[in-house]
Amino acid sequence: MNSFPTRTAPDADAQAIAELYASCYGELVAYLRRLCADHGQAEDLAQEAGMRLIAQARREAVAKPRAFLFHVATNLARDQLRRRMVSDAHAIESDFDDGHAPGADHIATVHEDVARVSAALNTLTPRARDVLVLARIHGHTQKEIADRLNLQPKTVENHLTRALAQLGAALTGRRRQ
């Protein structure tokens, strides 16, 4: 016993990553379609995110490949949305620059986002943090969280809303001031 954990070879990891990508492709496209309101673009972004995930997995292990994939796709969509807004004369002020230039290194951006959100976690109240972790890490519904923490469902929603908004604010607007 005590045998050393057997690790899969990088190629096998890449294979597993490709399978994961294939299995959630439909969900990813649906999510991106909602975000962009453009079916063709949603498919383009989903495929680009998938390529980046697979390329990244060849370089090193990706701890949370699904979250990574959706995160990269979301950031690609954010770039597209910003470009659309910049090309819109009314939005030329461009005060929504969060420091990630369009076309920036997406892997570095994901790592930076994770670092910013991790830091922001410490600024939440313990209750808001508990609610957030139960909802977003453990996948519990607001009702389950309300029962577990003896809170009103509306209170759970408010905690979750504030916590998510605070994390969102940590990702954006840092360099505006």
């Binding site: 701890a63 979250a67 972790v133 890490i137 979750l160 809303t161 998510l164 908004a165 969102g168």
Partner: protein, 314 residues
């Protein structure tokens, strides 16, 4: 209402509503309507989504030591580990092999658990003192006629409060180790459970197999697909209760597997020909990364750290 903050709040509320469930058709339409109102709505919603996916990848959020308590949990004072009054000491080991997943459901279903690198000590209702090692979880039931401690993962030591009317059982997988006023070690892996006796007598039984009584200096191994215990000489190690990993002529792969338990990252040895290299060392477990660096240096292996992912030794 049009400041970016309040847009983020509105976007966050949509995300909060959709948390853990699918939106109803009506809610879904309302969200699409809100998104279509203004490009800034879309971007705010995308920002919140990015933050939520970043959170999923954040090691800080998945840290079991910071996991969420039950509202009803009563806090008991943590006691320092002590071997006073000749309390019989029961040690339980569990080794899980394979990629590390944060078994949050185990924490939820446990009575006590610890995060990686954060051992803790606690008094139980019957007066026994429980020490949980890194990344461990137990369920405890103290009844009127028996005491059960179920090891869900990891490793524990327990100083058993003497009470002949309520024998204390440690359940690890299908193996039941019953304390009869003694000190012993149970080591659990995917392959099976090992029980080693340091003092006194331990009765070991598995689901279908015959019970065996082990005496001091003996250990038994029950494989997951076996029913009978294989008995041999004692070789288990309890240095972790003193915060050190003390090994003598232990294969490098085993030493790395031990240190791996104390680090959030996995340790990967890329050169299998070095796996059997014998190691004799005493390494500090309160700074496992330093222990790993020292080990790499003395073994003349290179060590590469990929933060939050792995240590690669070659």
């Amino acid at each position: 209402m049009n400041s970016p903050e309040s847009l983020l709040q509105q976007a966050a509320r949509w995300h909060a509503i959709a948390s853990g469930r699918d939106l109803s058709a009506e809610e879904s339409r309302a969200l699409d309507h809100w998104l279509a109102q203004n490009a800034r709505h879309r971007l705010a919603y995308a920002d919140i989504c990015a933050a939520a996916f970043a959170l999923e990848q954040s090691p800080a959020a998945s840290d079991p030591a910071s996991a969420v308590p039950h509202a009803t949990r009563t806090s008991r004072p943590w006691l320092r580990w002590s071997l006073g009054a000749g309390a019989p000491l029961l040690l339980v080991f569990a080794l899980l092999v394979g990629p590390r997943i944060t078994p949050s459901w185990q924490n939820w279903n446990s009575d006590h658990y610890t995060g990686i690198g954060k051992p803790q000590t606690q008094a139980l209702a019957d007066g026994s003192v429980l020490e949980l090692d890194t990344d461990s979880a137990v369920r405890v039931r103290i009844g009127s006629d028996r005491r059960d401690i179920e090891l869900l993962r990891g490793r524990l030591a327990i100083a058993v409060a003497k009470d002949p009317s309520r024998p204390l059982h440690v359940l690890s997988g299908g193996v039941d180790a019953m304390a009869v006023g003694t000190r012993f070690v149970v080591d659990r892996s995917d392959l099976g459970t090992e029980v080693g006796v340091h003092e006194g007598i331990v009765r070991v039984s598995s689901a279908n197999g015959e019970a065996v009584e082990l005496r001091a200096g003996q250990q038994a191994f029950v494989g997951t697909s076996e029913v009978d215990a294989r008995v041999g000489a004692l070789a288990s190690n309890d240095g972790w209760t003193r915060g050190v990993l003390s090994v003598e002529q232990m294969p490098l792969s085993k030493v790395l597997a031990e240190l791996d338990r104390y680090l959030p990252e996995r340790i990967v040895l890329t050169d299998n020909s070095r796996a059997a290299m014998p190691i004799t060392a005493t390494l500090p477990l309160d700074d496992p990364a330093a222990a790993l660096r020292a080990l790499a240096q003395t073994s003349q292996l290179s060590l590469r750290h990929i933060p939050r992912v792995a240590y690669v030794m070659r």
